[in-house]
């Protein structure tokens, strides 16, 4: 079975910039590519195996990317426009959203960090969304329900 979270794409988030995780990797494989499922084609990559998060896709754990919490990271390059909006992390122990301002250039992310800013503490990423506008609370709630149905946890663990 391959890791394939492409069904995470929600009609309500069609204008996101970097959206869901998608790759083809078997359980335990390193993830070299996460494809941007929006029309913006801002894929995230990692060409060094040691830094690649690991694909989890099984009926016990669910489907997600596990970062090791030390040096695993994915990178994407933002040309333009500059992102001034909202980031949304969906992880196995909580969902986190926050305002974000990203300049053009290359940005790294893990399951709990984007461009050196922390969001929660999970190492298990179900999905990552970037919006180039301030997402209203109602849409955050809708998105949270959606990713929870795909294996994310709603609230952060204490």
């Amino acid at each position: 079975m391959a890791l394939n979270l492409s069904d995470l794409t929600s009609p309500s988030t069609s204008d996101d910039v970097l959206s869901d995780i998608y790759t083809t990797a078997d359980q335990g494989d390193g993830i070299a590519l996460m494809i941007d499922l929006s029309d913006n084609e801002i894929d995230a990559t990692q060409s060094t195996a040691l830094y690649q998060p690991v694909a989890y896709v099984n009926s016990v754990d669910g489907t997600f990317a596990r970062f090791d919490g030390i040096d695993d990271r994915m990178s994407f390059t933002l040309a333009s426009p500059i992102i001034n909006g909202t980031v949304f992390f969906a992880t196995k122990n909580g969902c986190h959203s926050a305002a974000i301002n990203l300049v053009a250039g290359t940005h790294d992310f893990t399951a709990n960090e984007l461009s050196s800013v922390s969001y929660g503490s999970s190492n298990d990423l179900v999905a990552l969304y970037l919006f180039d506008y301030a997402v209203p609370e109602a849409q955050i709630s809708q998105l949270t329900s959606y990713v929870v149905s795909k294996g994310a946890a709603e609230n952060s663990s204490p």
């Binding site: 790759t23 590519l33 990559t45 060409s47 060094t48 195996a49 040691l50």
Partner: protein, 102 residues
């Protein structure tokens, strides 16, 4: 919680040979010509943080699960025996990453 990583301090030329051996054993690079390319198994030496003891050796933490049964015997043991790669505890590793106090 059980330790998930192994920690090493490596001499540059030895590390570079080790990285090449890892690439060969794992079949890297693969996926060339696709977007899902994996170029190498380990980062190049010049991407490693240098130990703060002026030894010129690089520091690297590697997930335990990445080691195959033959890795220790065929790749690591000879270099460790020759003193060219040192395996550290996590505490020792962290000591080498912090600036030395005057």
């Amino acid at each position: 919680m059980a330790e998930t990583h192994r920690y090493f301090k490596c001499e540059a030329a030895t590390y570079t040979q080790l990285a090449a051996a890892v690439d060969q054993s794992r079949g890297y690079p693969h996926g060339v010509g696709t977007r899902a390319v994996t170029l190498r198994g380990l980062p190049p030496f010049d991407e490693l943080e240098l130990a703060n003891d002026n030894s010129g050796r690089g520091l690297i933490a590697i997930d335990k699960w990445r080691f195959t049964p033959s890795d220790d015997e065929e790749m690591l043991a000879p270099a460790i025996q020759a003193g060219l790669i040192e395996e550290l505890t996590k505490e020792e590793f962290e000591q080498f990453t912090f600036p030395l106090t005057p």
